[in-house]
Protein backbone atom coordinates (compact mmCIF):
# COMPACT_ATOMS: atom_id res chain seq x y z
CA UNK A 1 0.00 0.00 0.00
CA UNK A 2 1.41 3.33 -1.00
CA UNK A 3 1.90 5.94 1.65
CA UNK A 4 1.76 9.64 1.16
CA UNK A 5 4.80 11.64 2.11
CA UNK A 6 2.95 13.33 4.97
CA UNK A 7 2.06 10.11 6.77
CA UNK A 8 4.48 9.23 9.50
CA UNK A 9 4.94 5.95 11.27
CA UNK A 10 4.31 5.72 15.02
CA UNK A 11 8.05 5.39 15.48
CA UNK A 12 8.67 8.67 13.66
CA UNK A 13 6.07 10.41 15.82
CA UNK A 14 7.81 9.08 18.91
CA UNK A 15 11.16 10.29 17.63
CA UNK A 16 9.66 13.76 17.11
CA UNK A 17 8.26 13.67 20.62
CA UNK A 18 11.69 12.87 21.98
CA UNK A 19 13.10 16.01 20.38
CA UNK A 20 10.59 18.34 22.05
CA UNK A 21 11.71 20.73 24.73
CA UNK A 22 9.38 19.21 27.34
CA UNK A 23 10.66 15.69 26.73
CA UNK A 24 14.27 16.84 26.79
CA UNK A 25 13.67 18.68 30.06
CA UNK A 26 12.55 15.38 31.63
CA UNK A 27 14.90 12.92 29.93
CA UNK A 28 18.13 14.85 29.48
CA UNK A 29 20.09 12.12 27.73
CA UNK A 30 18.08 12.56 24.52
CA UNK A 31 17.66 10.25 21.55
CA UNK A 32 20.36 8.07 20.12
CA UNK A 33 21.69 4.62 20.84
CA UNK A 34 25.36 5.27 21.48
CA UNK A 35 26.86 3.56 24.54
CA UNK A 36 27.14 6.93 26.26
CA UNK A 37 23.49 7.87 25.59
CA UNK A 38 22.27 4.51 26.83
CA UNK A 39 24.42 4.73 29.94
CA UNK A 40 23.17 8.27 30.64
CA UNK A 41 19.56 7.13 30.23
CA UNK A 42 20.10 4.79 33.19
CA UNK A 43 22.34 7.03 35.22
CA UNK A 44 20.12 10.13 34.99
CA UNK A 45 16.90 8.40 36.04
CA UNK A 46 16.19 8.49 39.76
CA UNK A 47 14.73 4.96 39.75
CA UNK A 48 17.12 3.33 37.27
CA UNK A 49 20.30 4.93 38.62
CA UNK A 50 20.19 2.42 41.47
CA UNK A 51 21.14 -0.21 38.91
CA UNK A 52 24.34 -0.72 36.95
CA UNK A 53 24.52 1.11 33.63
CA UNK A 54 25.96 -2.02 32.04
CA UNK A 55 25.14 -5.65 32.64
CA UNK A 56 26.68 -8.81 31.25
CA UNK A 57 24.10 -10.21 28.82
CA UNK A 58 24.49 -13.69 30.28
CA UNK A 59 23.57 -12.28 33.69
CA UNK A 60 20.17 -11.40 32.28
CA UNK A 61 19.54 -15.00 31.21
CA UNK A 62 16.89 -16.85 33.16
CA UNK A 63 19.30 -19.51 34.40
CA UNK A 64 21.56 -17.00 36.14
CA UNK A 65 19.06 -15.80 38.74
CA UNK A 66 15.70 -17.36 37.79
CA UNK A 67 14.58 -13.70 38.12
CA UNK A 68 13.69 -14.46 41.75
CA UNK A 69 14.68 -11.04 43.12
CA UNK A 70 12.78 -9.22 40.38
CA UNK A 71 9.74 -11.44 40.93
CA UNK A 72 9.89 -10.65 44.66
CA UNK A 73 9.86 -6.93 43.82
CA UNK A 74 6.91 -7.64 41.50
CA UNK A 75 4.88 -9.22 44.29
CA UNK A 76 5.78 -6.32 46.60
CA UNK A 77 4.51 -3.81 44.04
CA UNK A 78 1.30 -5.83 43.60
CA UNK A 79 0.87 -5.83 47.38
CA UNK A 80 1.23 -2.03 47.53
CA UNK A 81 -1.12 -1.55 44.57
CA UNK A 82 -3.82 -3.83 46.00
CA UNK A 83 -3.27 -2.92 49.67
CA UNK A 84 -3.97 0.80 49.26
CA UNK A 85 -7.45 0.31 47.68
CA UNK A 86 -8.27 -2.24 50.40
CA UNK A 87 -7.59 0.50 52.97
CA UNK A 88 -10.49 2.54 51.54
CA UNK A 89 -13.02 0.00 52.82
CA UNK A 90 -11.31 -1.40 55.92
CA UNK A 91 -11.72 0.11 59.42
CA UNK A 92 -9.19 -1.20 61.96
CA UNK A 93 -11.73 -1.33 64.79
CA UNK A 94 -13.14 -4.28 66.71
CA UNK A 95 -16.80 -3.88 65.74
CA UNK A 96 -16.07 -3.24 62.06
CA UNK A 97 -12.92 -5.08 60.97
CA UNK A 98 -14.53 -8.48 60.42
CA UNK A 99 -17.64 -7.00 58.78
CA UNK A 100 -15.47 -4.89 56.46
CA UNK A 101 -13.51 -7.97 55.46
CA UNK A 102 -16.79 -9.74 54.68
CA UNK A 103 -17.95 -6.70 52.70
CA UNK A 104 -14.75 -6.70 50.69
CA UNK A 105 -15.36 -10.37 50.00
CA UNK A 106 -19.07 -10.22 49.06
CA UNK A 107 -20.29 -6.63 48.57
CA UNK A 108 -17.58 -4.32 47.23
CA UNK A 109 -17.11 -4.43 43.44
CA UNK A 110 -13.84 -6.18 42.65
CA UNK A 111 -13.21 -6.40 46.40
CA UNK A 112 -12.89 -10.17 46.18
CA UNK A 113 -10.35 -9.82 43.37
CA UNK A 114 -8.25 -7.21 45.20
CA UNK A 115 -8.30 -9.08 48.50
CA UNK A 116 -7.40 -12.41 46.94
CA UNK A 117 -4.68 -10.83 44.84
CA UNK A 118 -3.28 -9.25 48.00
CA UNK A 119 -3.47 -12.57 49.84
CA UNK A 120 -1.90 -14.71 47.13
CA UNK A 121 0.82 -12.16 46.40
CA UNK A 122 1.68 -12.16 50.10
CA UNK A 123 2.05 -15.94 50.06
CA UNK A 124 4.04 -15.76 46.82
CA UNK A 125 6.32 -13.06 48.21
CA UNK A 126 7.27 -15.16 51.24
CA UNK A 127 7.96 -18.13 48.96
CA UNK A 128 9.97 -16.01 46.49
CA UNK A 129 12.06 -14.38 49.22
CA UNK A 130 13.10 -17.82 50.47
CA UNK A 131 13.68 -19.10 46.92
CA UNK A 132 15.80 -16.00 46.16
CA UNK A 133 17.87 -16.58 49.30
CA UNK A 134 18.44 -20.25 48.43
CA UNK A 135 19.49 -19.33 44.88
CA UNK A 136 21.92 -16.69 46.17
CA UNK A 137 23.24 -19.08 48.80
CA UNK A 138 23.85 -22.06 46.51
CA UNK A 139 25.46 -19.89 43.82
CA UNK A 140 27.76 -18.42 46.47
CA UNK A 141 26.65 -14.91 45.52
CA UNK A 142 26.71 -13.82 49.17
CA UNK A 143 30.52 -13.91 49.33
CA UNK A 144 32.94 -10.96 49.36
CA UNK A 145 32.24 -8.18 48.46
CA UNK A 146 28.52 -8.91 48.77
CA UNK A 147 28.32 -9.91 52.45
CA UNK A 148 26.57 -6.71 53.51
CA UNK A 149 23.94 -7.08 50.80
CA UNK A 150 23.21 -10.54 52.20
CA UNK A 151 22.70 -8.90 55.61
CA UNK A 152 20.28 -6.36 54.09
CA UNK A 153 18.53 -9.34 52.49
CA UNK A 154 18.11 -11.00 55.88
CA UNK A 155 16.57 -7.78 57.22
CA UNK A 156 14.20 -7.78 54.23
CA UNK A 157 13.27 -11.41 55.01
CA UNK A 158 12.36 -10.38 58.56
CA UNK A 159 10.33 -7.40 57.31
CA UNK A 160 8.50 -9.70 54.88
CA UNK A 161 7.63 -12.13 57.67
CA UNK A 162 6.53 -9.28 59.96
CA UNK A 163 4.33 -7.90 57.15
CA UNK A 164 2.74 -11.33 56.79
CA UNK A 165 2.28 -11.63 60.54
CA UNK A 166 0.74 -8.17 61.05
CA UNK A 167 -1.51 -8.58 58.00
CA UNK A 168 -2.77 -11.89 59.35
CA UNK A 169 -4.58 -10.21 62.27
CA UNK A 170 -6.50 -7.67 60.20
CA UNK A 171 -9.46 -9.88 59.08
CA UNK A 172 -10.21 -10.20 62.83
CA UNK A 173 -11.60 -13.73 62.60
CA UNK A 174 -10.94 -16.69 64.89
CA UNK A 175 -7.94 -17.83 62.84
CA UNK A 176 -6.38 -14.36 63.04
CA UNK A 177 -7.14 -13.93 66.75
CA UNK A 178 -5.57 -17.20 67.87
CA UNK A 179 -2.62 -16.95 65.49
CA UNK A 180 -1.72 -13.55 66.94
CA UNK A 181 -2.36 -14.82 70.49
CA UNK A 182 0.10 -17.66 69.91
CA UNK A 183 2.59 -15.47 68.00
CA UNK A 184 2.66 -12.69 70.58
CA UNK A 185 3.10 -15.27 73.35
CA UNK A 186 6.17 -16.53 71.48
CA UNK A 187 7.50 -12.95 71.72
CA UNK A 188 7.09 -13.05 75.50
CA UNK A 189 9.54 -15.97 75.61
CA UNK A 190 12.37 -13.46 75.02
CA UNK A 191 14.53 -13.43 78.18
CA UNK A 192 13.95 -10.56 80.65
CA UNK A 193 12.13 -8.16 78.30
CA UNK A 194 9.74 -10.71 76.73
CA UNK A 195 6.68 -9.59 78.67
CA UNK A 196 7.46 -5.92 77.89
CA UNK A 197 7.71 -6.70 74.16
CA UNK A 198 4.39 -8.56 74.38
CA UNK A 199 2.76 -5.60 76.13
CA UNK A 200 4.15 -2.99 73.73
CA UNK A 201 3.35 -5.04 70.63
CA UNK A 202 -0.29 -5.57 71.64
CA UNK A 203 -0.69 -2.23 73.43
CA UNK A 204 -2.23 -4.21 76.29
CA UNK A 205 -2.33 -7.63 77.90
CA UNK A 206 -4.57 -9.34 75.35
CA UNK A 207 -5.28 -9.24 71.62
CA UNK A 208 -7.78 -6.42 71.61
CA UNK A 209 -8.67 -3.08 70.01
CA UNK A 210 -5.21 -1.62 70.70
CA UNK A 211 -3.49 -4.65 69.18
CA UNK A 212 -5.63 -4.42 66.04
CA UNK A 213 -4.80 -0.72 65.59
CA UNK A 214 -1.08 -1.22 66.25
CA UNK A 215 -0.87 -4.11 63.80
CA UNK A 216 -2.73 -2.02 61.21
CA UNK A 217 -0.29 0.89 61.53
CA UNK A 218 2.68 -1.49 61.43
CA UNK A 219 1.24 -3.31 58.41
CA UNK A 220 0.23 -0.27 56.35
CA UNK A 221 2.83 2.36 57.31
CA UNK A 222 5.89 1.42 59.31
CA UNK A 223 6.82 -1.93 57.77
CA UNK A 224 6.20 -1.03 54.09
CA UNK A 225 8.21 2.21 54.43
CA UNK A 226 11.05 0.34 56.15
CA UNK A 227 10.90 -2.29 53.41
CA UNK A 228 11.15 0.37 50.68
CA UNK A 229 14.23 1.92 52.28
CA UNK A 230 15.93 -1.45 52.57
CA UNK A 231 14.92 -2.47 49.04
CA UNK A 232 16.54 0.73 47.72
CA UNK A 233 19.71 -0.06 49.67
CA UNK A 234 19.59 -3.66 48.41
CA UNK A 235 19.48 -2.57 44.75
CA UNK A 236 22.07 0.16 45.22
CA UNK A 237 24.46 -2.36 46.77
CA UNK A 238 24.14 -4.70 43.76
CA UNK A 239 25.67 -1.93 41.66
CA UNK A 240 28.22 -0.87 44.27
CA UNK A 241 29.33 -4.46 44.88
CA UNK A 242 30.22 -4.99 41.23
CA UNK A 243 26.92 -5.82 39.55
CA UNK A 244 25.01 -9.07 39.45
CA UNK A 245 27.12 -11.98 40.55
CA UNK A 246 28.81 -13.94 37.75
CA UNK A 247 30.06 -17.47 38.13
CA UNK A 248 33.76 -17.78 37.37
CA UNK A 249 33.27 -21.53 36.96
CA UNK A 250 30.69 -21.42 34.18
CA UNK A 251 31.35 -23.46 31.01
CA UNK A 252 33.93 -22.07 28.60
CA UNK A 253 31.41 -21.83 25.79
CA UNK A 254 29.20 -19.50 27.83
CA UNK A 255 32.18 -17.38 28.75
CA UNK A 256 33.23 -17.19 25.11
CA UNK A 257 29.75 -16.03 24.12
CA UNK A 258 29.89 -13.40 26.77
CA UNK A 259 33.27 -12.19 25.58
CA UNK A 260 31.67 -10.00 22.89
CA UNK A 261 30.62 -7.65 25.67
CA UNK A 262 33.72 -5.90 26.87
CA UNK A 263 33.29 -4.45 30.31
CA UNK A 264 36.14 -3.22 32.45
CA UNK A 265 36.34 -4.84 35.87
CA UNK A 266 34.62 -2.73 38.52
CA UNK A 267 37.00 -0.68 40.58
CA UNK A 268 35.71 -2.09 43.85
CA UNK A 269 34.92 -5.74 44.31
CA UNK A 270 34.28 -7.85 41.26
CA UNK A 271 35.73 -11.28 40.82
CA UNK A 272 39.23 -11.41 42.14
CA UNK A 273 39.41 -15.09 41.33
CA UNK A 274 39.07 -14.61 37.57
CA UNK A 275 41.46 -11.67 37.47
CA UNK A 276 44.83 -12.25 35.77
CA UNK A 277 47.77 -12.61 38.11
CA UNK A 278 49.44 -9.37 36.97
CA UNK A 279 46.24 -7.43 37.59
CA UNK A 280 46.22 -8.75 41.14
CA UNK A 281 49.79 -7.64 41.68
CA UNK A 282 48.97 -4.22 40.35
CA UNK A 283 46.39 -3.80 43.14
Amino acid sequence: MAKTGITKTIGQHFDDLRQTRVWRSIFRSGAGSSTLKRALAIQQNVFLHLFSTKVRTRMLSFSATWYLGTLTLGTFLILVATGIPLMFYYHPSVPQAYADTKDLQFVVSSGLFLRNLHRWSAHAMVFLVFAHMFKVFYRGAYRTPREFNWVIGVVLLLITLLLSYTGYLLPWDQLAYWAITVGSNIASAVPLIGDKIHFLLLGGNAVNANALLRFYVLHCMILPLTAMIFVAMHFWRIRKDGGLYAHSSEPAVVRAQAADVQIPAPRTGGETRSMPADAKEAQ
Binding site: T181, N185, I186, G203, N208, N210
Partner: protein, 168 residues
Protein backbone atom coordinates in the same frame (compact mmCIF):
# COMPACT_ATOMS: atom_id res chain seq x y z
CA UNK B 1 51.45 37.02 73.81
CA UNK B 2 48.01 36.06 74.93
CA UNK B 3 48.33 32.55 73.48
CA UNK B 4 51.44 31.78 75.54
CA UNK B 5 49.57 32.23 78.78
CA UNK B 6 47.01 29.60 77.73
CA UNK B 7 47.39 26.17 79.36
CA UNK B 8 47.43 23.19 76.99
CA UNK B 9 44.34 21.58 78.56
CA UNK B 10 42.32 24.78 78.24
CA UNK B 11 39.18 24.54 76.13
CA UNK B 12 38.73 27.05 73.34
CA UNK B 13 35.48 28.90 72.92
CA UNK B 14 34.71 26.86 69.78
CA UNK B 15 35.40 23.54 71.53
CA UNK B 16 33.30 24.59 74.49
CA UNK B 17 30.28 25.42 72.37
CA UNK B 18 30.73 22.24 70.29
CA UNK B 19 30.72 20.15 73.44
CA UNK B 20 27.80 22.08 74.87
CA UNK B 21 25.84 21.57 71.64
CA UNK B 22 26.61 17.86 71.36
CA UNK B 23 25.87 17.34 75.05
CA UNK B 24 22.50 19.07 74.74
CA UNK B 25 21.64 17.00 71.68
CA UNK B 26 22.61 13.79 73.51
CA UNK B 27 20.41 14.66 76.47
CA UNK B 28 17.57 15.55 74.10
CA UNK B 29 18.02 12.23 72.24
CA UNK B 30 17.90 10.22 75.48
CA UNK B 31 14.84 12.18 76.58
CA UNK B 32 13.14 11.60 73.23
CA UNK B 33 13.82 7.86 73.48
CA UNK B 34 12.43 7.76 77.03
CA UNK B 35 9.30 9.76 76.14
CA UNK B 36 8.77 7.67 72.97
CA UNK B 37 8.89 4.50 75.02
CA UNK B 38 6.43 5.93 77.54
CA UNK B 39 4.15 7.07 74.74
CA UNK B 40 3.99 3.55 73.29
CA UNK B 41 3.05 2.07 76.66
CA UNK B 42 -0.67 2.69 77.37
CA UNK B 43 -1.43 4.07 80.83
CA UNK B 44 -5.11 3.21 80.75
CA UNK B 45 -6.41 -0.05 79.33
CA UNK B 46 -10.00 -0.52 78.25
CA UNK B 47 -9.84 -4.24 78.98
CA UNK B 48 -12.47 -6.28 80.84
CA UNK B 49 -12.18 -6.38 84.63
CA UNK B 50 -10.11 -9.32 85.94
CA UNK B 51 -12.89 -10.03 88.49
CA UNK B 52 -15.77 -11.95 86.94
CA UNK B 53 -19.12 -13.00 88.39
CA UNK B 54 -19.79 -16.70 87.79
CA UNK B 55 -23.30 -16.81 89.28
CA UNK B 56 -24.84 -18.92 92.01
CA UNK B 57 -22.91 -22.03 93.14
CA UNK B 58 -25.91 -24.29 92.56
CA UNK B 59 -25.43 -23.78 88.81
CA UNK B 60 -22.50 -26.17 89.08
CA UNK B 61 -23.43 -29.79 90.01
CA UNK B 62 -21.04 -31.88 92.11
CA UNK B 63 -18.06 -33.34 90.15
CA UNK B 64 -18.63 -31.00 87.24
CA UNK B 65 -16.16 -28.95 85.19
CA UNK B 66 -17.61 -25.83 83.53
CA UNK B 67 -15.72 -23.65 81.07
CA UNK B 68 -16.55 -19.94 80.88
CA UNK B 69 -15.42 -19.25 77.32
CA UNK B 70 -15.60 -15.46 77.61
CA UNK B 71 -13.63 -15.26 80.84
CA UNK B 72 -11.14 -18.05 80.11
CA UNK B 73 -11.61 -19.90 83.42
CA UNK B 74 -13.04 -23.21 84.66
CA UNK B 75 -15.36 -23.50 87.66
CA UNK B 76 -14.88 -26.96 89.12
CA UNK B 77 -17.19 -28.36 91.81
CA UNK B 78 -15.29 -31.17 93.55
CA UNK B 79 -15.84 -33.03 96.83
CA UNK B 80 -13.56 -30.47 98.54
CA UNK B 81 -15.58 -27.52 97.25
CA UNK B 82 -15.60 -25.04 94.38
CA UNK B 83 -12.35 -23.95 92.83
CA UNK B 84 -11.29 -22.13 89.66
CA UNK B 85 -8.57 -22.96 87.14
CA UNK B 86 -7.32 -20.73 84.37
CA UNK B 87 -8.41 -22.06 80.96
CA UNK B 88 -5.56 -20.30 79.15
CA UNK B 89 -2.85 -22.76 78.14
CA UNK B 90 0.51 -21.91 79.71
CA UNK B 91 2.25 -22.84 76.46
CA UNK B 92 1.19 -20.13 73.99
CA UNK B 93 -2.08 -18.80 75.36
CA UNK B 94 -4.73 -20.83 73.52
CA UNK B 95 -8.08 -21.51 75.17
CA UNK B 96 -8.19 -25.09 76.46
CA UNK B 97 -11.27 -27.34 76.48
CA UNK B 98 -12.78 -29.77 78.99
CA UNK B 99 -12.96 -33.33 77.61
CA UNK B 100 -15.58 -35.14 79.73
CA UNK B 101 -15.05 -38.46 77.92
CA UNK B 102 -11.35 -38.45 78.89
CA UNK B 103 -11.72 -36.63 82.20
CA UNK B 104 -8.99 -34.13 81.31
CA UNK B 105 -8.47 -30.57 80.03
CA UNK B 106 -6.85 -30.49 76.57
CA UNK B 107 -5.44 -27.68 74.44
CA UNK B 108 -6.43 -27.75 70.74
CA UNK B 109 -3.35 -25.85 69.56
CA UNK B 110 -0.37 -28.02 70.50
CA UNK B 111 -1.87 -30.94 72.44
CA UNK B 112 -1.10 -30.10 76.07
CA UNK B 113 -3.21 -32.07 78.58
CA UNK B 114 -4.01 -31.11 82.17
CA UNK B 115 -5.56 -32.94 85.13
CA UNK B 116 -8.74 -31.74 86.87
CA UNK B 117 -8.71 -34.12 89.85
CA UNK B 118 -6.20 -35.29 92.42
CA UNK B 119 -4.54 -38.59 91.57
CA UNK B 120 -1.46 -39.49 93.62
CA UNK B 121 1.04 -36.69 93.12
CA UNK B 122 -0.99 -35.10 90.34
CA UNK B 123 -2.95 -32.03 91.47
CA UNK B 124 -5.79 -30.37 89.54
CA UNK B 125 -4.24 -28.10 86.92
CA UNK B 126 -1.04 -30.14 86.61
CA UNK B 127 0.23 -30.95 83.14
CA UNK B 128 -0.17 -34.60 82.12
CA UNK B 129 1.58 -34.27 78.77
CA UNK B 130 2.42 -31.80 76.01
CA UNK B 131 4.60 -28.72 75.59
CA UNK B 132 3.02 -26.58 78.34
CA UNK B 133 5.81 -25.45 80.71
CA UNK B 134 3.64 -24.85 83.81
CA UNK B 135 0.42 -26.19 85.32
CA UNK B 136 -2.80 -24.25 84.79
CA UNK B 137 -2.83 -21.75 87.67
CA UNK B 138 -5.57 -21.76 90.31
CA UNK B 139 -7.48 -18.50 90.57
CA UNK B 140 -8.82 -16.78 93.69
CA UNK B 141 -12.51 -17.61 94.18
CA UNK B 142 -14.95 -16.34 96.84
CA UNK B 143 -18.62 -15.64 97.50
CA UNK B 144 -19.92 -12.10 97.49
CA UNK B 145 -22.73 -10.78 99.70
CA UNK B 146 -25.36 -11.82 97.15
CA UNK B 147 -24.10 -15.40 97.26
CA UNK B 148 -22.52 -15.27 93.80
CA UNK B 149 -19.20 -16.90 93.00
CA UNK B 150 -16.55 -14.32 92.06
CA UNK B 151 -13.20 -15.16 90.47
CA UNK B 152 -10.20 -12.84 90.29
CA UNK B 153 -8.33 -13.83 87.13
CA UNK B 154 -5.34 -11.65 88.01
CA UNK B 155 -4.61 -13.46 91.29
CA UNK B 156 -3.10 -16.95 91.41
CA UNK B 157 -3.60 -19.03 94.57
CA UNK B 158 -1.72 -22.16 95.71
CA UNK B 159 -3.29 -25.44 94.53
CA UNK B 160 -5.27 -27.44 97.11
CA UNK B 161 -4.81 -24.75 99.81
CA UNK B 162 -7.89 -24.42 102.06
CA UNK B 163 -8.40 -20.80 100.97
CA UNK B 164 -8.34 -21.81 97.31
CA UNK B 165 -11.74 -23.50 97.69
CA UNK B 166 -15.22 -22.14 98.31
CA UNK B 167 -17.39 -24.40 100.43
CA UNK B 168 -21.11 -23.72 100.47
Amino acid sequence: MADDTRKTDDVTRREFFTKLGLGSLSIAAVGTAAFSYQYLEPNVLYEPSPVVNEGKPDRYPLDSVTLDVNSGIYIIHSQEGYFSLSAVCTHLGCLTAWKPELGIIACPCHGSKFAVSEQGKVKPGDKIEGPAPRPLPWKRIWLNDDGDLLVDRSTDVPPLAPDSFVRV
